[in-house]
């Protein structure tokens, strides 16, 4: 079964992350890399996303697309990245999420399976 792990971070943390000197940021990546390595056989996709300030949202106003600056989720938290994982059940996905090292929350969502062939 496939799940997507959405990695959240507070806006404050995202800012701190951006402000870090390169060397320090590389060091901060170490536990994250370890996590990906540990679960590499189960991770079937995913990406880290550029900061929220780079986001552009298309909204529909009476069906007419309107382009606006910023994310469509308004709140204290933003999505910093995601990983698609293929595991047996929710418990296994939760086990992975519990080991996520950044301190930010992880939302675990099963993907819709319509029995399409694997791409």
């Amino acid at each position: 079964m496939k799940y997507v792990l959405l990695f959240g971070e507070t806006k404050e943390r995202a800012k701190q992350w951006e402000a870090m000197p390169e060397a320090q940021r590389m060091a901060a990546y170490a536990p994250i890399n370890q996590w990906f390595e540990k679960y590499s056989s189960k991770i079937t996709g995913g990406h880290e996303l550029q900061p929220e300030r780079t986001a552009t949202t298309v909204k529909f106003n009476n069906g007419k697309p309107v382009i606006t600056d910023g994310p469509f989720i308004e709140g204290k938290e933003s999505i910093g990245g995601y990983a698609e994982v293929t595991v047996a059940d929710l418990d296994e996905a939760l086990e992975m999420a519990k080991g996520w090292p950044t301190g930010g929350p992880v939302e675990v969502r099963p993907v819709v399976d319509r029995g399409e062939p694997q791409r």
Binding site: L90, D91, P110
Partner: protein, 381 residues
Amino acid sequence: MTAALVRMLGDFDLAEELVQEALLEALQHWPTEGIPEKPGAWLLTTARRKAVDQLRRQARFRDKLAQLEGDVMRDDTAEGDDRLRLIFTCCHPALSREAQVALTLRAVAGLTTIEIARAFITSEATIAQRIVRAKRKIVDANIPYRMPTERELPERLDEVLAVLYLMFNEGYLATAGEQASRRDVAEDAAWLAGLMVRLMPDEPEALGLLALMRLHLARAGARFDAAGDLVLLQDQDRGRWEQERITSAIVLLQRAAALHRTGPYQLQAAIAACHAEARSWGETDWQQIVALYDALIELMPSPVVELNRAIARRYRDGAGAALDDVERLGEVLDAYYLFHATRAELLRDLGREPEARAALVRALELTANPAERALLQKRLS
């Protein structure tokens, strides 16, 4: 139903066992023969029939009685395993607490949605929807129907016990006042805790929780007077406490203690046992109670536990010392009515009447429970 059988057999665990057997029989028969017109009555009849069988065998049974609380009660049959899987699934942490409670009452304890709705003073539609949503999440998110792994077990067992404790408290507190027709969810929660103890007999916290529930239930009858008003522990008629339940709870606590893994439920049960064993309010062992609260705070730091400890200190060290402790909690517990009610009592003890009245008024603003309100009103007048 268990209560009816307890009256007949005078034995708690046996009665619970028989109800369980009747349920199992139902699970075997109903799918093929259809659900009887009055399922509740069918179950009671079946359980009663089993009870009569039991009584007939009582001579033999008495010999076994000594073993009953021991390993013989271990339920490691296939049905037992299946039931455990069901409980752990119903109490999966991916479900909301309300869903866990409703689902466990429905699927494990066998209550109908109407009964659950009545117990929680909500509509049947709300409960039905809650259950449907939970079941849908179990399927859609693929929550596994299995025992937690050994590594997950401590956390998952805590979750189950927390669900049962919440269920018990809601049931126990809500018994206040008018609703005599309401199903006693506190009894259901105790039955479920008993089931956990039979299925996992070496888990001291499960034993502790069951003991705690039995100690509360033993005093339940004395909690209200004829007018339906709340009677405080110190004013309760201790002759009305159910000694059998108290004794059975203490046996459970001893079993838990022998496993040498102390925990919050065992400590809370031990505190309740101190009260239950005191022949009068004046003979309460406050020294022991304060020591148990100290241990509890160490394991589970919480301002509410500290408030309770302060109350115990009032009787060991006097109102002045207790008030000092209470005042320290003012910031975190300002929205908690018992904080203000306790403060009022202590201030009154110390002769600071105007402050006591102000605290009582504040407490009244913070509780909606009619029985609690009545008690506070009485103190104010």
